[in-house]
């Protein structure tokens, strides 16, 4: 019995130590990747290339999902509001839901699946095929050359993608609510304009998306860089990226919402 308890405590201690070491390594990767003077010669082209891979390639899924979610939101909102004769408030409902919550969160979850997993797998494979080691042997720091542009690209792309998502979703909501279900266009837009505040709703939404961009890309690059260089290791790292990032996004969303929108 005693040995069972001590074994359990040992396992717990080991798990705690590994967790702390993991956080330490992740912090070091983040620090080394962002710290230091930028490489003005190769830096911009590497960043643009990664913005293209991470941002532009994510556009299709963001646009299609945004459109569908806006349409569904509008349809569901209409069926509830019409019972109270309040369907003119549809613009208000759709815009606040999207700008404050759904836009940043759903765009972030899609971004995790589309870009986060790809970044982890790419960096993990570069490690498994000795490309990172080769870069070090050439005298080039992979944290600067490989990790830094991906990290910045994710941080820059995420808020833009979230705004694209919002825009397309509102357009989808208009298509369903105004063009199909017959809500008055003037009421829809004026209600929206009256209730949405730039600082409170739009800027807070952008801040959320920025925070999600940092956490997702950080987890993705670290998991790739820290992956065990085998096929199982890369598969496990990609899974961890999706699971950890998704949970981190949802937990962070709750915290940020509590700070930004609490009425106290």
């Amino acid at each position: 019995m005693l040995t069972l308890v001590t074994d359990y405590l040992q396992q717990l201690g080991r798990y705690g130590l590994n967790l702390a070491a993991g956080f330490g390594r992740a912090g070091l990767v983040f620090w080394h990747a962002l710290w230091g003077s930028p490489d003005w010669r190769a830096g911009p082209s590497l960043l643009i290339r990664q913005l293209y891979f991470i941002g532009v390639y994510s556009l299709i899924i963001i646009i299609v999902s945004g459109l569908l979610i806006g349409m569904v939101l509008s349809l569901q909102g209409y069926t509830v509001l019409v019972r109270f004769g309040a369907e003119t408030a549809l613009g208000q409902l759709v815009s606040l839901t999207l700008l404050r919550e759904l836009g940043p969160v759903v765009a972030a979850l899609l971004f995790v699946g589309r870009a986060g997993s790809a970044v982890t797998a790419e960096i993990g494979l570069m490690k498994a095929t000795d490309q990172l080691a080769a870069m070090e042997m050439i005298g080039v720091d992979p944290l600067k050359r490989v990790i830094r542009p991906r990290l910045w690209a994710g941080i820059i792309a995420m808020p833009i993608l979230a705004q694209v998502f919002n825009m397309v979703a509102i357009w989808g909501a208009v298509a369903v609510g105004v063009n199909w279900l017959g809500v008055d266009a003037g009421s829809f837009w004026s209600n929206m304009q009256n209730v949405v505040e730039f600082r409170e709703d739009i800027v807070n939404g952008i801040i959320k998306a920025f925070a999600f961009g940092v956490i997702i890309t950080w987890i993705a690059v670290f998991q790739g860089y820290d992956a065990v260089p085998t096929s199982e290791g890369i598969s496990a790292a990609t899974t961890r990226t999706v699971v950890h990032s998704s949970l981190a996004v949802l937990a962070m969303d709750f915290l940020l919402t509590a700070v930004m929108f609490s009425t106290d």
Binding site: Q131, A133, V140
Partner: protein
Amino acid sequence: MPTNWIEIDHLHFSHGPRVILNGINVSIPKGKITAIMGPSGCGKTTLLRLISSQLKPAAGSIRVDNIDITGLDRQQLFVQRRRMGMLFQTGALFTDLSVFENVAFPLRVHTNLPEPMIRDLVLMKLHAVGLRGARDLMPAELSGGMTRRAALARAIVLDPELIMYDEPFTGQDPIFVGLLKHLIRRINQTMECTCIIVSHDINETLAISDYMVVLADGRVIGQGEPEAVINSDNRYVQQFLKGLPDGPVPFHYPAPDYRLDLNLENS
């Protein structure tokens, strides 16, 4: 001027509880081709990665050209590594760059040379390994031998003072092995650089080596001119060189008693 380019002193390295290198002392002479040999899993590649400081030792020192590389910080290490070239077993070409751009990569990041000069230098190195015509191919389009030759061109493009070859002959056909032996020898002579070859291909490696280090069980069991090492009466060395299946390096991985394992004790 020191005659030894690398001095390794009481080097210890462990991977978890497993001791890989147990206090080894190795000297690698300047301007020569040194073979580091030994059975699989004896720590040859680990030693190469320690010399290039991709791994940090638990104890001991590694002096490369009189600089203790174990005490360097990240930035100093990257400066030192510009004096080294390494041919990885897999080639490790950057898969998103063409053969030409792979070889040009070290020049682009470390020099401010004009484009026509980079082009000439890259083509000269590619010509030296016979791949001038393959400059526009992507790594995925190359055979295993071509990948290693392209990686060799990249490793020598900055004219390093130390070139490390990790298992260069493994899994290659005889034509490529002969070609690579010729290339390694020619690079050593023309560039007057120090070369280290990690390998367990005895005949191929000894044919071009000037110096030899044999590792087994985390220790150095033979070191010196190849002829002297081959003629030594060390049982480890003899087992390795003659390819005997059992001896000081056991055939069996440590295991409990065979009879007990098969539950034959009671029958």
